[in-house]
Amino acid sequence: MQPTEQQQLPANNETLSNDLLLDMYRSMILVRHFDRRAVHLQRTGRLGTYAPLEGQEAAQVGCGYALQKHDWLFPTYREHGVSIVHGMPMETIFLYWNGRPEGCVPPEGVNIFPVSVPIATQVPHAVGAAWAAKLKGENQIAVGFLGDGATSEGDFHEAMNFAGVFKLPVIIFCQNNGYAISVPLSKQTAVETLVEKAAGYGVEGVRVDGNDIVAVYEAVSHAAEKARRGDGPTFIEAVTYRYGSHTTADEHSRYREAAEVEAWKAKDPIDRLKTVLIERGVWSDEQDAAEWERVDGLVQSAIDSMQATPPVPHDRLFEYSYAELPQELVEQRDEMRELYGKGGAK
């Protein structure tokens, strides 16, 4: 997949304030740095398999900024960017990739559903949460995230259809990064663009350059306003690219050319916004360097927290399987304790 013409259009950045652009820029840097450190941690054995997002920062950060605090996110395994923006602590995300149960728990008041690993299954959840918001008369929306590959799953279809039929305040936000692991979009669907799929559900479809943070921000803002107005769902296709492998367990050179990756790097979302900010005279290379330093400190302290977290107590396996543990599970837990002790302590 080569970047298309459309993606080369300049950001319509006139409409957004410098402050907002600067905030979003800093967030993109934070997210990129977080991501690179995560990959490095995995390579050095300090993190489990990790799904990198480098290249997709504009799509995620732009989306995150267009939402309100009480809105719901239903993320996949790759939504670290938007999750951080929406209030998920970085150490929590690190813990998740270390297989820690705490890794799925957002702070109180932050509505981020645990990562859905089974592809597309979170889209109906977003639809249901939006439905609840509508029934309760809350001015809240839900965003269901998915990838290009996920559009092939039945759950995507059923969720889109429900969204259309019940006219729900939901955004179905698809990051089309051109690949489902190794499978390119051309083998995933016979259409050229994913946005073409929306019409069949009576759902408005919008396609944006996912590497243009302003375009993403505006598309999501419009969709969110529309949803809050009661005018129903929007499907957004944000065309983007992941620079790295699908996960750290994948090797992307098996299925795509280095030249393709390079072509996309030339459209880098961070570089693009940086150019704009410098042109506007609100940013400089010095500030940039300082900002990378600053985010390094933030990410490092999240890593420190993650590493300082004591091992998980064995009881954690049982604690939350039911609101009240059935007798059989109490006995299983007791036998587990007898055999393996409490775990957790350092």
């Binding site: 559903f113 859905s116 299954t121 949460a129 759950d155 604690e319």
Partner: protein
């Protein structure tokens, strides 16, 4: 007190829940205008409106998946699966999501929902309208499985299931829907989940059953009595978690056990019950636990359904095998 069928008791239970709790909503295929293909939701849309009793598109994963989102965001959805055999497309949403929301989020989110489904065979319905895959859900941790055998329990267990903070699969024995009437109290009452009921005490052999098979087991017990056998019949009512205490107490008393179900025998719930019995009452057992179940073939078209499902004769045969081992 009004006399009701199981079906009426269920409708009544739904009505109570819809009245008492604004968060409750009923959704599914044909549950609204039509009142459900068995009329279990008859009149409810008229009383509570189309926003609380909702006809959905024909999509089981969508129904359960959106119910997960509804539940997580504060509602109490009661999705209906039109027949239990149509739950398969919703498997992933149930076993990978509904059952795991609490654990996955470490209690931060929960998924209180009651999935209702007409269950079992025996009404000359087309293929797949008579499947009994309850074992799948008993095997999946995080979701409870309940099945009443009479009108009183149907309403009481349903209201308890709706109160439960975790997802519950509520199986409605369709062959019994209109089979008989019983007194059912008005308004709210509950029957505790996880408790079996010794329907007929006896001392020679214990028969464990639920749903439609409970009545068939009672029939068999009656025939056995004619032969001088005193059969204890236990209605399990909740299949997950099992009431191991009541099961064990019964077998410790009788020393012999027969488990009955409509699903295929291999790796059915009967295997779990047999295993629980030997875990808990090994030294009391005078004979292997007999499993009287569907055969290990797919549920057949209805010309063969009577041969497929256990009847009193087959249960009696199981009782005899347990007695004469």
């Amino acid at each position: 007190m009004a006399k009701m069928t199981i079906l009426q008791a269920i409708t009544d239970g739904l009505r109570v829940a819809l009245r008492e709790d604004e968060r409750v909503l009923v959704l599914g295929e044909d549950v609204g205008v039509n009142g459900g293909v068995f009329r279990a939701t008859d009149g409810l849309q008229g009383e509570f409106g189309p926003h609380r009793v909702v006809d959905t598109p024909l999509a089981e994963a969508g129904i359960i998946g959106s119910s997960v989102g509804l539940a997580v965001n504060g509602m109490r959805p009661i999705p209906e699966i039109q027949f239990f055999g149509f739950i398969y497309p919703a498997m992933e949403q149930i076993v990978a999501h509904a059952a795991r929301v609490r654990m996955r989020s470490q209690g931060r989110f929960s998924c209180p929902m009651v999935i209702r489904a007409p269950y079992g065979a025996g009404i000359r319905a087309p293929e797949l309208h008579g499947d009994s895959p309850e074992a799948f859900f008993v095997h999946q941790p995080g979701i409870k499985v309940v099945c009443p055998s009479n009108p009183y329990d149907a309403k009481g267990l349903l209201l308890a299931a709706i109160d439960d903070p975790d997802p519950v699969l509520f199986l409605e024995p369709l062959r019994m829907y209109r089979a008989f009437r019983e007194e059912v109290p008005e308004g709210r009452y509950t029957v505790e989940l996880g408790k079996a009921n010794v329907v007929k005490p006896g001392k020679d052999v214990s028969v464990f059953a639920w749903g439609t098979m409970l009545r068939v087991a009672l029939e068999a017990a009656k025939s056995a009595a004619e032969k001088g056998l005193d059969v204890e019949v236990v209605d399990l009512r909740t299949l997950s978690p099992l009431d191991r205490e009541t099961i064990a107490a019964s077998v410790k008393k009788t020393g012999r056990a027969v488990v009955v179900h409509e699903a295929p025998k291999s790796a059915g719930v009967g295997a779990e019950i047999a295993s629980v019995i030997q875990d808990e009452a090994f030294l009391y057992l005078e004979a292997p636990v007999m499993r009287v179940a569907g055969y290990d073939t797919p549920q057949p078209l209805f010309s063969l359904e009577d041969i497929y499902a256990p009847d009193a004769k087959r249960i009696l045969h199981g009782i005899d095998k347990a007695m004469n081992f």
